[in-house]
């Protein structure tokens, strides 16, 4: 059992292995994600009944909740990848951490903007310094900080370490976001989905939400894989496997 774990560890650290596996899996994640998103969005927009109190504006939930969940999950993945890189000195891990940052930031922006737009008809305001909103904004700033570190520090090793440390330290923000609606009853309503109780929404409204959440996660995998492959191509450009890969690509395009 330990030898297979050791083999997995070495595989995960191998850029060539990651490139090949991610190339094979990406189409599946793309199609699964697209089917789930299409079904979820069409169902949520056109077939789900309107909310008793909020009317049709509640349909924003099918974008807002997946973006919020995913921006937080992505942050945790980024922090874990940074930690693995620091502790096990795995360069692959640092590459994944670097690549997640802009994606996570775009999702945090999606969450904040759709949330603000949803808030206007629902609560009468675009923004309030409510605990959850503020901590989500801090999440976005943490993402910007990580991105800025990679852009600002020339030395790759130092940038990796500094970004990883920022990501790890910022992880404290995640439980704050999660429990903010329980600890402080200021504006944002409590969780609809919990691990313990039945959802407070009717199934015709709830199921499309599950579909769009999973669909977004699938698309997230496609985005992470694509960006990581680009990083690997550049970093490993002098290796035989990259040279062969590019040769095969050029031949396919009839350039050689």
């Amino acid at each position: 059992m330990w030898s297979s774990l050791k083999r997995l560890y070495h595989k995960l650290g191998s850029p060539k292995w990651f490139y090949e596996i991610s190339t094979r899996w990406s189409p599946w994640f793309l199609w699964l994600g697209s089917v789930l998103m299409l079904t979820g969005v069409v169902w949520g927009l056109a077939f789900a009944p309107a909310d008793y109190m909020q009317g049709n504006s509640f349909r924003i939930i099918y974008i807002h909740v997946p973006a919020s969940l995913l921006s937080q999950s992505a942050y945790i993945m980024m922090a874990v990848a940074g930690l693995v890189g620091l502790v096990w000195k795995m360069k692959m891990s640092f590459v994944v951490a670097k690549v997640i940052a802009p994606i996570g930031a775009s999702l945090a922006i999606m969450s904040l903007l759709t949330g603000a737009i949803w808030g206007k008809p629902t609560w009468g305001t675009w923004w309030v310094w409510d605990a959850r909103l503020t901590s989500m904004l801090i999440l976005l700033f943490l993402y910007f900080g990580v991105i800025a570190i990679y852009n600002a520090i020339e030395n790759e090793e130092m940038a990796n370490k500094a970004a990883a440390i920022l990501a790890i330290v910022g992880t404290i923000n995640i439980p704050i976001i999660k429990y903010s609606v329980e600890w402080w009853n200021t504006l944002h309503q409590p969780a609809t989905i919990t691990m313990t109780k039945k959802p407070t929404m009717a199934p015709e409204m709830f199921i499309p939400l599950v579909l769009t959440i999973i669909g977004f996660y699938c698309w997230f995998a496609v985005w992470v894989f694509a960006r990581t492959r680009n990083e690997l191509l550049w970093r490993e450009r002098r290796t035989k496997w990259v040279k062969n890969l590019l040769l095969i690509e050029a031949k396919d395009k009839g350039a050689v």
Partner: protein, 57 residues
């Protein structure tokens, strides 16, 4: 279908502006996340090939 007509679907019971700007915004961000790595990949391959050619000379 929850809506009786396409126009009521677009109106979203007077919340149309809010709902559609959210979905539009999401579509833009999703599109950027798909397109950006595709463009970057082309650039990376070109840069590598340029570097290879320079080193050959």
């Amino acid at each position: 279908m929850f809506f009786d007509s396409f126009s009521s679907f677009l109106e979203m019971g007077k919340h149309g502006l809010y709902v559609w700007s959210c979905y539009g915004l999401a579509a833009v961000i999703v599109a950027m996340n798909f397109i950006s790595p595709i463009l970057t990949r082309k650039k990376v391959i070109k840069d590598i090939q340029r570097q290879n050619r320079r080193e050959q000379n």
